[in-house]
């Protein structure tokens, strides 16, 4: 029996190595995805261009503009001379934010009168505009504190925030666990469902069924190579995350790898389940993209926080394996928690896996219909 299994796996490896598309998905996708998420999809920004409409043109307004640029987040693009010029920069796309400083800025600041400044942002890109305004606000408050030594005022409420586990709010800390969850899902679920659907589409499943091969062996033989490859990919993403983006692994590496393996099995069992109900490769592809990829990306808390979603979507999010896997990964990698803290998530994953395997076993057809 083991000899047959070996022959089956060998055949599967030939399929993978001889198909450029599979190879590309297998090894191109993880690298592309982590680099895209790492460099492109990020909330951080550097050197955002701002215009300044400075009516004051005095010492203090110059200092303010200097101060705003000092963090490296902003770069002065143009000094405007009239209100009419404000929109020009937005329309041309050369500036993202305009700071308007009133004529009385210096006098008000030191004369203990309320100071008003105006920030104008390009609202057509709300997320970006929001972030820019917040950064700018922080810089302005900081400037004010520095100038007036407000900290010495005993009646002032001081709020100090500290972001535990990710003090600098580096987005890589969020997307590396998310990317691992997605990549494992794509490779394990999509590729296995595709490869089984391919046997059906090309008619080879007919011959495999009319042979002494037990159905279980057919599934295991198909799944085993992908399990190994998916696991290698998980390690690849962890290594990339660690060395390229500096994402730490504070908790136990062994525990992390074991959980990765469990999640790989969850995804594989989902893939085989999809393949039992799809007849063609295209069918399998659509089902895994629509049914797995997109929900896992949107509803797992990877990109958008689950807590701020409508209740219905929150429930949906809670039946997605990736939600639990991402929670576990963040726990182990960033907070360094041990097994007893992730017990709930692990048992949910395990339960889901058993459920999918059982369904696959029930649904696997020993005949063509």
């Amino acid at each position: 029996m083991f000899k047959i299994f070996k022959a089956f796996v060998k055949k599967e490896v030939y399929h993978i190595l001889r198909d450029r598309r599979t190879l590309l998905i297998l090894f191109g996708m993880p690298i592309a995805q982590i680099l895209i998420f790492g460099y492109a999809v990020t909330n951080e920004f550097k050197d955002a261009k701002i215009d300044v409409l400075d009516y004051a043109k005095d010492q203090s307004s110059l200092q303010l503009v200097q101060h705003i640029q000092s963090s490296g987040n902003f770069l002065l693009n143009r000094i405007l001379h009239s209100e009419k010029e404000i929109e020009a920069g937005f329309k041309a796309g050369t500036s993202k934010l305009v700071l308007v400083i009133p004529e009385s800025f210096g006098a008000d600041l030191y004369g203990n009168r309320p100071v008003s400044l105006q920030l104008i942002a390009d609202g057509s890109d709300p997320n970006n505009a929001n972030t820019l305004v917040q950064y700018a606000l922080a810089m302005i408050l900081d400037f004010q504190k520095e100038r007036l030594k407000l900290a010495e005022n005993p009646f002032q409420v001081r709020v100090e925030t500290r972001m535990l586990y990710n003090p600098q709010l580096i987005s890589a800390y969020n997307f590396v666990p998310g990317t691992i969850a997605l990549i494992l899902l794509i490779i394990s679920a999509m590729l296995t469902s595709l490869t089984i659907a391919r046997e059906k589409e090309q008619g080879t499943m007919e011959i495999l069924l009319v042979s002494p091969l037990p159905p279980l062996l057919i599934i295991l033989g198909k799944v085993a190579p992908y399990a190994i490859l998916s696991f290698i990919n998980a390690v690849l993403v962890l290594v990339l995350g660690y060395f390229v983006f500096g994402v730490p692994i504070i908790g136990s590496l062994t525990l992390l790898l074991i959980i990765c393996m469990l999640y790989v099995i969850t995804a594989l069992s989902l893939g085989t389940l999809i393949s039992t109900i799809s007849k063609t490769q295209q069918d399998a592809m659509m089902r895994s993209l629509m049914g797995l990829m997109i929900p896992s990306m949107i509803l797992s808390g990877f990109i958008f926080p689950l807590a701020s979603m409508p209740v219905v979507l929150q429930y949906l999010g809670h039946i997605i394996p990736a939600t639990y896997f991402i929670a576990i990964l963040k726990g182990i990698m960033l907070r360094g928690v041990g097994f007893n803290f992730i017990l709930f998530e692990v048992s949910v994953l395990l339960g889901m896996t058993l459920f999918f395997l059982f369904m696959t076993y029930k649904k696997f057809k020993i005949r063509l219909e």
Partner: protein, 330 residues
């Protein structure tokens, strides 16, 4: 026997085995029916294939041949009726059947991205054997493939693909071989070679059920069943089939075939008239003298029409039988 089994279930299996050994048919089909929704693909089909027999299933596309193959290879379940392959019940013993039959589906179903050698050795392994062990059986076929053994199966010519598929279906020394349209899409020379291989396999004691849409291949089988619209029209030896055609048959030839066809259709003695190549095959009522036909044709102005009596081809018989069945069903 069925009755006896139900009375005495304990002893049934041993009795069945010994009984089967005595009168075991390679394939036994009893009143098998199958429909897909409203379309009925097989209507109460029955036949037997003896051990070591080359049995041909001949009929056009959509006659139900592939459905029958899939039922006999346990890939589909019949709606009603029973069947045995080498004494094994289609439903109860499906695992046993899957071990002892060789199946070559109608569509080329090997791994196109594996080489000739890799395909063959994969199928040998999953049947728990090796190429070397059964090399004797496939040697005649495999020597032709050997020069291309490193080539990917997808890059082989049509004839070569079929030979490889046959090798893969044979590699575990099956007792019964199911070949679903093995010569479709294959050139004339390869088709001839293929049938010669089947003859050799038959001599080695393997029962073969082969389907084909080509009527001219019928004479190469031991026995044939003509099948149309899920019904078996007749089962006979190729020679016996010829005697089933009991009406006079003539080939009629004229420059304007279409006008001739129209004219002959109106002739009172005509039973059927069908175009075959550049002439028409005319069946008339029994004991109609040729002179009457000539007379009729001359009256219509087809003076130079050439009439000669011919013996029927399988196609003639097929068309005549299907015509009779249709009129019976109406």
């Amino acid at each position: 026997m069925v009755h006896f089994e139900s009375v005495c279930p304990l002893r049934s299996s041993s009795i069945r085995t010994s009984w089967n050994r005595l009168v075991m048919q390679a394939i036994q089909v009893d009143n098998i029916s199958k429909s897909y929704g409203k379309i009925s693909a097989l209507k109460s089909v029955s036949f037997q294939v003896e051990e070591g027999e080359l049995f041909g299933l001949i009929g056009p596309d959509g006659a139900g041949k592939s459905t029958l193959f899939r039922i006999l290879t346990t890939l589909l379940l019949a709606d009603s009726g029973e069947g045995h392959v080498a004494g094994n019940h289609l439903l109860r013993d499906y695992r046993k059947i899957r071990r002892i039959v060789g199946y070559m589906p109608g569509r080329f179903s090997l791994y196109q991205d594996l080489s000739v050698e890799e395909n063959l050795s994969f199928f040998a392994t999953i049947f728990g054997t090796t190429i070397e062990e059964n090399y004797g059986l496939i040697k005649d076929i495999y020597v032709q493939l050997e020069p291309f053994k490193k080539r990917l199966a997808g890059q082989l010519s049509g004839g070569m693909k079929q030979k490889l598929a046959l090798c893969c279906a044979l590699i575990h020394r099956p007792e019964v071989l199911f070949l679903d349209e093995p010569t479709t899409g294959v050139d004339a020379v390869s088709r001839k070679e293929f049938w010669e291989m089947l003859k050799k396999l038959k001599q080695k004691g393997i029962a073969i059920l082969v389907s084909t849409p080509y009527m001219d291949e019928a004479s190469l089988c031991d026995r044939i069943a003509l099948i149309q619209n899920g019904e078996i029209l007749t089962i006979n030896t190729p020679e016996g089939l010829m005697t089933e055609y009991d009406l006079p048959l003539y080939a009629v030839k004229y420059d304007d075939t279409y006008q001739l066809l129209k004219g002959l259709r109106k002739m009172p003695y005509t039973k059927s008239v069908l175009p075959f190549g550049d002439s028409l095959h005319l069946t008339v009522e029994a004991e109609t003298p040729v002179s009457k036909i000539t007379e009729y044709l001359t009256d219509l102005g087809f003076e130079n029409a050439e009439i000669r009596p011919i013996s029927p081809t399988v196609e003639d018989i097929f068309l005549e039988l299907s015509r009779r069945t249709e009129s019976k069903n109406d």
